[in-house]
Symmetry: C2
Subunit: 278 residues, 2 copies
């Protein structure tokens, strides 16, 4: 497994790798969710590149960029075991030099849900993902369903800008109690950690109701809210039952939807989602 920082050095390595080449973009502090993306890439592709970069431009000014968990040594050990071909760890200085001034923005889709609560977040995401795609030139790139809107926004960018990479979205990986794996789970104290599976419980309750014939969008949203309300440590920021393509909030009877939510536990903000299809 090669590790590299500079883009020129990366290009020399990727040029020699067998195609198809898969890319797994990460912010490090890897967990089983990331590793499942790597394993999917290994199955599909002859070579796999992983990027580790805590991208400053997708964090708001009051968000957790400085405190975002980092453990490069552990990350490299885990990726070595997965037989990744190359790990790219770009520097802030090379990614965003002082006169940096180019941005890739997706408009409508990036203004909903997470975008509404984290202004500028998706501009940072689409810009850095465009940069990663251009530098690595992968045939396929792997993202987790846990960040559902991120995948939808990136797919829209790829389609709109005629990028030739295939975006592959892989299932959310969960802890035994249902909590979606996330590097940010490490922020939770023991009490919060126990409470945090309420996101999954709420999603499962709504899914069960949907499967039992409850197709009204408002009542599904109410099931999510009511379940979250039962957990005193949970402070919901939003719950949503949205169109899978446009992310508009749905009304009335639905046949499919993205159910998603953001919930605070102390200062820690967690998100989760499922897709319902009749």
């Amino acid at each position: 497994m090669k590790t590299v920082q500079q883009i020129d050095a990366l290009r020399r390595i990727t040029a020699s790798l067998k195609k198809p080449l898969g890319l797994v973009p990460t912010m490090g502090y890897l967990h089983e969710g990331h590793l499942s993306l790597v394993r999917n890439a290994k199955m599909d592709c002859k070579s796999v590149a992983v990027s580790i970069f805590v991208n400053p431009t997708q964090f708001g000014p009051s968000e957790d960029f400085e405190n975002y968990p980092r453990n490069l040594e552990m990350d490299l050990r885990l990726l070595e075991k997965e037989k990744v071909d190359v790990v790219w760890m770009p520097t802030n200085e090379e990614m965003y030099p002082s006169d940096y001034q180019t941005w890739v923005t997706v408009e409508e889709l990036a203004r909903k849900l997470e975008g509404l609560k984290r202004p500028g977040h998706f501009r940072g995401v689409t810009t850095v993902v465009a940069k990663l795609f251009h530098a690595v030139q992968p045939d396929k790139a792997y993202f987790g369903q846990k960040d559902a809107q991120q995948s939808i926004v990136i797919q829209r960018m790829v389609q709109d800008l005629n990028m030739s990479v295939e975006v592959v979205v892989c299932p959310t990986i969960r802890e035994p109690d249902g909590l979606a794996m996330s590097s940010r789970n490490s922020y939770l104290n023991l009490e919060e950690r126990k409470a945090a599976n309420v996101l999954y419980r709420a999603l499962m309750k709504a899914q069960k109701a949907f499967e039992g014939g409850e197709h009204d969008a408002d009542r599904l949203r109410k099931i999510l809210s009511d379940t979250l309300a039962e957990e005193p440590l949970a402070r919901p920021q939003y719950v949503s039952v949205a169109d899978l393509k446009t992310l508009h909030e749905l009304e009335g009877s639905i046949t499919k939807a993205l159910l998603s939510m953001a919930v605070y536990f102390g200062d820690t903000r967690l998100i989760d989602n499922i897709v319902l299809v009749d």
Copy 2:
């Protein structure tokens, strides 16, 4: 020479072309300026693709998108003679479907000079050029020095977004009287056409003064303005003596600069520029 409209068909053709592949992006109505880009590409590259697309998103609402001159039959005849490998003529519908929503923007550089007078212009340019680059995946792309700021903005986009294409800027091609070739010259009536070489005369006068030791930015700007003022049909919109990298207006004594201007003749807006280097 193959001609193609759909992106999928284009990709099948470019995949079979020998590398390096050169791209000459155009809006059609080709003149010797475009053909010199094609010839430069033919010299550097084993294959050459030309795109013809009057890009609606780089025209302002009151600009000349509808009336922009078009003559596809003549364009194809000219490109055939140059032994171009493939001509791509994308459709508006495929480039900008109704739910299109992704934009590539360069900030500071695109707000100066032309960007100040044509808000949104460079957002349209960088977006369409990113799309052309992604669809064609050229090794080199050819642009004319006549659109000096466009080249600077595109080079900044390529560098900031880690695109792997090399941007080649080719000299301005001029009519015998010095008028820079432009598809928009076809809008000029006979009187305006005769007057239009005042842009070149102004640039040459400033260059001569610079070479004679006049290095003061303000006095060089005054030479440009005074020369334009001698021509009654010319209505200057701006004259500029700007830093080659940042496009900031320069003050005091200079060693190098981009001299540029936009001038109306009736409804026709012409631009021209030269680079001065001590």
